[in-house]
């Protein structure tokens, strides 16, 4: 039954991704000023919106781990697995942002990169979470989990700064498309539909890989616990 549900979910996600691609490339009209290069936004912006969600899941996981590590060992491990899965998927989405953004910038601004507030804070956020993942990769034991959780909580402080950076500061990065004041938002319904489909598709994809990563990590925790028990008994 579980396998059937997973198979159905994967099918729906793949169909959504195909439909969203079709909407972005063949249905949505071209931006009058930018031409075809504006189509990058249909992939760039959904990733930008969703990495906040995955880093938030990671933050909740880390807070949960710190709150439960002394009293509920198994629940703490579960929270830790969510923290790791959220951070990894968030880094993947953030990487997409940091790669597709310069491709657009090269054509729109004539340069790959500029040290404006939005770009710099996003790069810092990516570096913090990469260092979180490196800490988890190269250290071991419960101390590592505690240190990683604390780093995650401090790193998450940068997320609202990234979100507000092009509202607080005058930046080269375009103004927010949604929630950026009375003039923000898309006026063309076909463009709006393409954005909506792409956000839904990449959300479905992200939740799928998040769940898979969580399962792999839980299995890893069980293998590590069994190995530790075996080493104690032998």
């Amino acid at each position: 039954m579980k396998k059937l549900a997973l198979g159905l979910y994967v099918l729906v996600t793949v169909a959504l991704l195909g439909w969203a691609y079709y909407q972005a490339v063949y249905v949505a009209p071209l931006d009058a000023m930018q031409g075809e290069i504006s189509r990058i936004f249909y992939y760039h912006v959904p990733h930008g919106m969703l990495f906040f969600l995955f880093f938030a899941i990671s933050l909740i996981g880390s807070v949960g781990y710190l709150a439960t590590r002394h009293n509920h060992a198994d629940r703490a491990q579960m929270f830790d697995a969510w923290a790791l899965a959220g951070a990894e998927v968030g880094v993947v989405y953030c990487t997409v942002i940091l790669v597709t953004g310069p491709l657009w910038g090269r054509r729109a601004w004539g340069m790959w990169w500029t040290w404006d507030a939005r770009l710099t804070t996003t790069l810092v956020l990516w570096l913090i979470y990469v260092s979180y993942l490196l800490l988890r990769r190269f250290a071991a034991g419960s101390e590592m989990q505690t240190l990683a959780a604390v780093l995650n909580i401090f790193g998450a402080i940068d997320a609202p700064i990234v979100y507000m950076s092009n509202r607080w500061f005058r930046t080269q990065h375009p103004a927010p498309v949604f929630g950026g004041g009375p003039d923000s938002g898309l006026k063309d319904p076909a463009m709006l539909a393409a954005w909506g489909w792409n956000i839904a598709a990449w959300l479905a994809w992200g939740l799928l890989i998040l769940a898979l990563r969580y399962r792999v990590e839980r299995k890893q925790q069980k293998i590590a616990a069994e190995e530790a028990e075996f080493a104690l008994n032998s």
Binding site: G35, V96, T100, L103, I223
Partner: protein, 87 residues
């Protein structure tokens, strides 16, 4: 059979990444600042349209390369877990 599946899962994102690089590096040079002295408006627009097309393709392709690369890494990790569980 398992090795073939693993190879394919890893090869697809690598191939996509190479394709994205090809799109960017095979793009024609951008029109110079004083392009009006060297070419007509139609030639300029054709170069800009080609560049925009290639960079958009590159952005879509590299997105899939990153996403499928992560899935490939998960797949390899899951395979090694299965192997260590049977050992």
């Amino acid at each position: 059979m398992k090795k073939l599946a693993t190879g394919l899962v890893v090869a697809v994102p690598v191939a996509l990444f190479c394709l994205a690089c090809y799109f960017v590096f095979s793009a024609p040079p951008e029109p110079p600042f004083d392009w009006r002295l060297h070419m007509s408006q139609a030639d300029h627009d054709a170069i800009v349209a080609t560049l925009n097309h290639l960079f958009t393709r590159a952005a879509y392709t590299v997105t899939w390369a990153i996403q499928l690369g992560y899935v490939a890494w998960l797949f390899v990790r899951w395979q090694s877990q299965k192997r260590s569980a049977t050992n």
